[in-house]
């Protein structure tokens, strides 16, 4: 009650301030995003642009900061059983959906069950394969029973697709989403813009500070930049990497870069020759000049790494040096593997993912000295998904930051990992054991040590070549305050203001 009063007062103060300061009256933040949104249904979202919506309109049970931390969001608190198989979440009381209905535990249960349904087609589904049952003893409590012990379960609720939806509005959520987030969906003109307005009943008092947000869909980077420079928009999300240097020269614009665990890689399918031989994979890894690739593929906007654990992460293995090109060594390894003169390989790159395209083109050049002749094939995205991933021998791919270090690694590297067989068919019993142990580990130190070991193992027996993690860069005009780029690449605009 008290909170609500404060909230109301805060809201009143904000609107009063808005009335008194005409310059701020239009507290509408205009954001450029490069692609149209396919869907507004959080469970089905697959694009960075869509994820932005997920965090502006909806809330999850928890919130991850992208650096390993997890905070309460809709869940006020949570507890796990000692075997890490039973997780109980207490919901924040009095949270209202945008349509005015109160959030209940049943909504959480229905939301997760919907994600679990294959026909929904949510990419978050695999994470909830471990859930045995969901119970709602009362309106504020949700209890999850897991099939296996899992230490990072709370973090899963900070994931992009795992937004809590009103269970009576599943049918319309794709077109007129209703959530509990800081902003209320107003309209979506496909191909043009999304308009959001402030949620006055947001459960965090005093937030959000903006009155409205307009997401403008602008595919052409030249158009985005021109619009930012002329003040037509206030913020460019995920600024094209090649424009960063240019933007930095503009005194009216702030370029805000943050390191993420989003990565690209050269995928080598261990189920197919010649990549079934770990010496071939290692030789390729040894040939790559990672800093150069950061320069070529990312215009310097990234960091060389061993695996998807970014150098900024506490679990990053600092003792392990970033590999430097060793052409002779690589040639020797290839010869040992039976390819003294190298071989020919087709490298598939997906159309419309420029960093992965550039990575592929650069790899073609870098691999030539050790005798690997690369034939580059560019494949449209839908065909890439259907016919290349997991099926081709050699291709470039990449993945967004995931909410926990476990969800970032386990599905890829563990031999039973859900995505392993659809990526590179990698099998390394030692790594399997390390990853399983890390899931059950009870302390941070224990876990850090295990992941350090994982990195060393992966460097020795590479699944593919992960040369770098990308930076996420936003550019905004000077009058935008209280904004910082998120390592998860979504936009947290709750504290943001325009002056």
């Amino acid at each position: 009650m008290k909170k609500r009063i404060i909230g109301a007062l805060g809201a009143a103060a904000v609107s009063l301030a808005a009335l008194m300061a005409p310059a701020m009256a239009d507290g509408n933040l205009r954001v450029a995003i490069p692609a149209n949104l396919n869907t507004l249904d959080a469970a089905k979202t697959k694009l960075g642009e869509e994820y932005i919506m997920n965090f502006l309109v909806f809330s999850g049970l928890t919130e991850v900061d992208g650096k390993g931390g997890v905070k309460p969001d809709l869940a006020e608190s949570w507890a796990k059983s000692d075997d890490q198989k039973t997780w109980t979440f207490k919901l924040r009381p009095g949270v209202k959906f945008h349509d005015g209905r109160l959030l209940e535990a049943e909504d959480v249960k229905a939301t997760i069950q919907r994600i679990q349904d294959k026909a929904t087609g949510s990419t978050a589904r695999v994470n909830f394969d471990i859930v045995e049952s969901i119970e709602t003893p009362d309106k504020q409590t949700v209890v999850f029973k897991l099939k296996i012990p899992y230490s990072g379960f709370a973090e899963l609720f900070g994931d992009r697709q795992v937004r809590i939806l009103p269970r009576d509005k599943f049918d319309t959520v794709a077109t007129s989403p209703v959530g509990t987030g800081p902003f209320i969906f107003k309209s979506f003109t496909p191909g043009d813009r999304v308009e959001l307005v402030k949620n006055p009943d947001y459960f965090v008092a005093g937030e959000p500070k903006l009155d409205a947000i307009t997401l403008r869909i602008m595919p052409e980077s030249a158009a985005q930049i021109a619009a930012l420079e002329t003040g037509d928009i206030d913020l460019v999300w995920n600024l094209p990497l090649e424009s960063i240097d240019q933007m930095k020269k503009n005194p009216d614009v702030v370029v805000d870069s943050t390191s993420t665990s989003t990565w690209d890689g050269l995928i080598m399918n261990a189920a197919q020759k010649p990549f079934d031989d770990k010496r071939v994979r290692k030789a390729i890894l040894m040939t790559l000049d990672k800093p150069a690739l950061v320069e070529v593929a990312l215009y310097g906007q990234g960091t060389p790494t061993h695996t998807m654990i970014p150098p900024s992460h506490p679990y990053f293995n600092k003792d392990l040096p970033i590999s430097t090109p060793d052409i002779e060594g690589a040639k020797k390894l290839l010869a040992e593997a039976g390819y003294p003169n190298g071989f020919e390989a087709t490298l598939y790159v997906p159309v419309g993912r420029p960093t992965r395209e550039r990575l592929g083109i650069a790899a073609k050049e870098l691999l030539a000295p050790i005798g690997i002749k690369v034939d580059l094939q560019r494949v449209p995205w839908d065909k890439f998904v259907k016919e290349i991933e997991g099926k081709a021998a050699f291709y470039t791919d990449g993945f967004f930051s995931r909410p926990t270090i476990d969800t970032s690694i386990y599905p890829f590297f563990h031999s039973t990992g859900s995505w392993n067989t659809q990526l590179w068919n990698y099998k390394n019993p030692e790594i399997d054991k390390v990853l399983d142990d890390a899931r059950a580990a009870k302390t941070e130190e224990e876990r850090a040590a295990l992941y350090n070991k994982f990195q060393a193992l992966a460097e020795d027996d590479p699944a593919g070549a992960i040369p770098y993690v990308l930076n996420h860069v936003n550019a905004y005009r000077k009058n935008v305050k209280g904004f910082s780029s998120s390592p998860m690449m979504w936009l947290d605009l709750r504290e943001t203001t325009i002056q």
């Binding site: 030249a222 094209p240 424009s243 240097d245 395209e357 083109i361 050049e365 580059l376 560019r378």
Partner: protein
Amino acid sequence: MIGSAVLLLLIVVAVAAPWIVPYRFDEMSILNRLKPPSLRNWLGTDEFGRDVFSRTLIGARLSLLMGFAATAVSLAIGVPLGLWAGYRRGRVDEIVMRSTDVLLSFPPIMLGLLLLAVTPPSLWKMIVAVGIVYVPSTVRLTRSVTLDLAGEEFVQAARARGERTSYILHAEILPNAWPPIMVEASLRVTFAILLGAALSFIGLGAQPPSSDWGLMIAEARPLIDRAPWVAIAPGIAMGITVIAVNLLGDGLREALDPRMHRKGG
């Protein structure tokens, strides 16, 4: 005939390109990327340090191939159909004409998009797709010319001496139908070059690391601030090529204009 001179030069350059370019079109040099034009790289380098001049010259090859081969495809399919429909009339004509009506109701680029969406893009598929896009208009033109010629007295004379239809079509009608078809075809070459470039620009045409001009412009688009030369070189090259073909077409038109011909003859 400036047009034909320029075009001839372009064709020579295009054919000889692999031997005269200073660098291979896909030769990358990471350290040397996005360099402005210099003595070393006459038109600068692109984001992978590839020589823009070399790429543009090789691109001429692709563009001209695209234009001429696609036009050849449209002629190869469209001219026989048009001759047949125009000479036979009746049901054949009706079916052919209604089919072209359907195809003509697609704006060219849409038809190209749809055709290319079916199969993974490659230069040859693009040539065929663009060729097919221009089949209906070729059919229509050939048909109308054939209709006119079929009424000419020398065609009647051929019928009167008992010639077979196939002979009349290829020996009496076709040689006289060529001039207007060729004039139209020369324009279609430019349309094909531009359509091919647009498809590549959208991403459904030529694939990297190809140096197709449309693709070069598409790839250079994000860099237009930093390295405008990467986009400008192929843009201007394309302009010159298309103007040359256009001039050639105008020249052809004047040379083959039936009225001029009659006056001269």
